[in-house]
């Protein structure tokens, strides 16, 4: 019996997986004696979606970029006639002997999958699939064989550190919440993945929702909580949908509710949808949001372990942290510390995006170098361009230059570069990306997302943004760099929460590593990367221009000349750099340089 598995995460669906699935369903229903069809979450190869897998016994064959037509071919040849189609669609083959081949071998074989153990393997809408893969065994062990303090000790021994970005030791955090007496305690899962360029948590929520529930229930048992919340961003409708299914299935099977699996322990939880505010990723702001208020951070201390949600002792961890917990309980702390570095054991999921060939999700042992991630797993830079930098940690992080690609990715080495580990977003940048513009981009983001409570975060970021906007227009002044540096320090010192304390990081790191680019904008009114629209020259590539006249018609200053069906030319003297020609061209013939 063959099993056909279609990747139906947001990435797969966006790439057209539904049509592929529908076609395969027709075929599978007509041939139900030889195969069955099922769906799964994201396996991480987002760049090859829609992906389908043909599974038989221990052998697994993956095809990428499968549309309804190629699905038909795969079905008739592979499923019905056992013939592996060795063309561009074939991405990965894992034989029954464990030998692997295929174009995407490096992407999967270099990974160690703990958090993503079930993502892309099981049907996330089936609790049975999760149980068959060893699911809820950690919970059974924790509830029937371990005391709460033994659970906490195991997590402490594993050295698990919070995967939301700060890297605080999870076991220690749990012990604080456990030590505080209270009739009502809460467990909160932060699924408000707000960093642009990060989608690790989304994939786990969509691909393996039960792992998060199991981790939360184990945590609740350890700290003595009876109720929990999952705070998930509303921009992830599929994640919320699958969590709802998982929660109701878990209740039916007695993993949630009263007297969980006969242990006498009670715990239940609820999903709270975020309403679109980046600052709600900060735990005290998140609590305020769950309480129905504006999501503004609160002063710490008191810390959440003492007075968190509704002033009750609360433990808050992010999605990835919770997803690690059942595995650690099942396999023991020693199995976990076998991966990663001494100070940062285990693995970390990274979301590779930007100008990298293999954009997707990869889980690697902590301590893997940036080079291995970008080149071995990520497949290098798109279009053979030059690797310039990698941006880690989103708007709170920084840009690490290509020269530092040997830096191991761990909770000590990354902060030393000025960036942060962050939640795992890794946006790869090539030579065409301007670092001043990137700094402006992030400041624009944090400035808009600042809740406004602290003056320096509210107004300081705006002043920084104004300076950066001037620089990208070529109107910079020599003292601007010093002003940016001063404001950075002041904002960091005078802000209450992580948003303000880290907002200047993108500016500080780009000044530190790319001072020449800042100077070129200020003194020469030039953008070396050729990105800042006001400082570049617009140009029509003669080979690509078909002479459709659209750009000339749309040019507000008649700077483009050329006859129908003839190559058009931009008169640089008249051009006002508005960019209308680029957006009107249907052939990608207009570029900046």
């Amino acid at each position: 019996m063959k099993k056909i598995v279609v990747g139906m995460g947001t990435c797969g669906l966006s790439a057209g997986a539904q049509a592929t699935y529908d076609r395969l369903r027709e075929l599978a229903e007509a041939n139900s004696d030889v195969c069955m069809l099922t769906r799964t979450g994201c396996i991480g190869m987002c760049y090859r979606e829609p992906l389908i897998e043909i599974r038989e016994g221990d052998s697994r064959v993956f095809y990428g970029g499968v549309n309804p037509e190629s699905a038909e071919e795969i079905f008739s040849k592979h499923v019905l006639c056992n013939e592996i189609i060795d063309d561009d669609n074939l991405v990965y083959v894992c034989g029954p002997d464990g030998n692997t081949s295929g174009s995407e071998c490096a992407f999967l074989d270099l990974q160690e999958r703990i958090v993503l153990r079930n993502c892309g393997t099981i049907d996330p809408e089936s609790i049975k699939d999760y149980e068959d893969a060893g699911g809820y065994q950690g919970l059974r062990k924790a509830l029937t064989e371990m005391t709460p303090s033994e659970i906490i000790q195991t997590i402490k021994d594993s050295g698990l550190r919070g995967r939301g970005g700060a890297g605080f030791p999870t076991g220690l955090k749990w012990s604080f919440a456990a030590a505080n007496e209270g009739e009502q305690k809460y467990v909160v899962c932060n699924a408000d993945e707000g960093d642009p360029g990060a989608f690790m948590d989304r994939s786990v929520l969509e691909g393996d929702p039960h792992a998060i529930l199991e981790g939360m229930i184990i945590c609740a048992r350890a700290i003595g909580a009876t109720f929990g919340y999952i705070y998930c961003r509303a921009e992830y409708p599929l994640a919320i949908h699958r969590l709802e299914i998982a929660i109701s299935e878990a209740r039916e099977r007695g993993y949630l509710g009263t007297n969980i699996i006969g242990s006498g322990f009670d715990f239940d939880l609820k999903i709270k949808q975020g309403a679109g505010a980046f600052v709600c990723g900060e735990e005290t702001a998140l609590f305020a949001s769950i309480e129905g208020e504006r999501g503004m951070p609160r002063i710490r201390p008191p810390f959440p372990a003492e007075k968190g949600l509704w002033q009750k002792p609360t433990n808050n961890n992010n999605v990835e942290t919770f997803a690690n917990v059942p595995w650690i309980i099942c396999n023991g702390a020693g199995a976990f510390t076998a991966f990663g570095t001494e100070k940062s054991p285990g693995t970390k999921v990274f979301a590779l995006a930007g100008k990298v060939v293999h954009g997707g999700l990869a889980e690697v042992p902590i301590g893997t170098t940036i080079e291995d991630l970008v080149f071995k797993i990520g497949g290098g830079i798109k279009e053979g361009k030059k690797f310039k930098a990698v941006q880690m940690g989103g708007p709170s992080g920084g840009c690490i230059p290509a020269e530092m690609k040997n830096t191991p990715v761990d909770f000590e080495s990354i902060p030393a570069t000025g960036a942060i580990m962050g939640s795992g977003g890794m946006v790869v940048m090539d030579e065409d990306i301007c670092m001043v513009e990137i700094a402006r981009f992030f400041l624009d983001f944090t400035q808009k997302e600042s809740c406004g409570k602290c003056t320096f975060c509210r107004i300081g970021t705006l002043r920084m943004l104004e300076i950066l906007e001037r620089l990208t227009r070529g109107e910079g002044e020599p003292e601007d760099i010093e002003k940016l540096e001063q404001l950075s320090i002041q904002i960091k010192e005078a802000s209450l929460c992580g948003l303000g304390q880290t907002a200047p990081n993108p500016v500080q790191t780009t000044i530190r590593y790319y001072l020449d680019e800042y100077k070129a904008h200020i003194y020469d009114q030039k953008c070396p990367a050729g990105e800042c629209q006001a400082l570049v020259e617009f140009y029509i590539i003669p080979d690509k221009c078909v002479g459709c006249t659209l750009c000339a018609k749309n040019c507000p200053v008649d700077a483009i000349s050329g006859k129908v069906k003839e190559v058009h030319v931009i008169n640089i003297e008249a051009c006002v750099n508005c960019g209308k020609c680029i957006t009107s061209c249907n052939f990608g013939a207009v570029i900046t340089r």
Binding site: G197, R202, G425
Partner: protein, 171 residues
């Protein structure tokens, strides 16, 4: 008459309010799901059942980017301006949409068909640059392809002009 019927329906949807604390945001979300935005009378009503002052409710609405105080178009376009999309040309995609529809971010077209917004990241970074139209994601866009997509939506709206139902429809 029509308004009264809607109000009744609205109350029905809100009966779930059980006095539990922290329900303001879910109530606002259900109001917005129902009306497409949060009308004044919904704020009135929520203030009545929860006892939270209208001014506080207004403060919460304006804090979160999800909530809207004015009606939306039939198709809500969200241009992703996350980091991955940004480095892959999201600005040009946004400008193309603005140019094609003749509106700016935050506006709705005069025919009530399209509302244009931006979103910080929808997590489809490997398909950058991406836009969402209602619940459908369109990825790997170029100025040319985004124009084509918008024109298809326009055509589809013209074909189904009689139908009032607004659902998630792919192109």
């Amino acid at each position: 008459m029509k308004t009264a019927a809607k109000q009744e329906n609205f109350n029905y949807r809100l009966w779930r309010y059980d006095g539990a604390p922290g329900e303001l945001i879910p109530l606002l979300q259900s109001a917005q799901e129902h009306f497409g935005y949060i009308p004044r009378r919904a704020i009135n009503y929520i203030a009545g059942v929860t006892g939270i002052p209208e001014s506080d409710i207004y403060g919460v609405i304006t804090f979160y980017s999800q909530f809207r105080l004015s009606p939306m178009g039939r198709y809500v376009i969200r241009v992703c301006v996350g980091t991955a999309c940004h480095v892959s040309g999201a600005k040009q995609i946004r400008e193309t949409v603005e140019d094609e529809l003749g509106i700016e971010v935050g506006d709705t077209t005069d025919d009530g068909l399209f509302t244009l917004n931006t979103v910080a990241c929808i997590g489809c970074c490997s398909l950058a640059p991406v836009i969402m139209i209602n619940d459908d994601t369109h990825g790997s866009l170029t100025p040319a392809s985004v124009r084509k997509i918008l024109r298809n939506y326009r055509k589809k709206a013209a074909v189904s002009a009689d139908s009032v139902a607004v659902t998630s429809e792919g192109v």
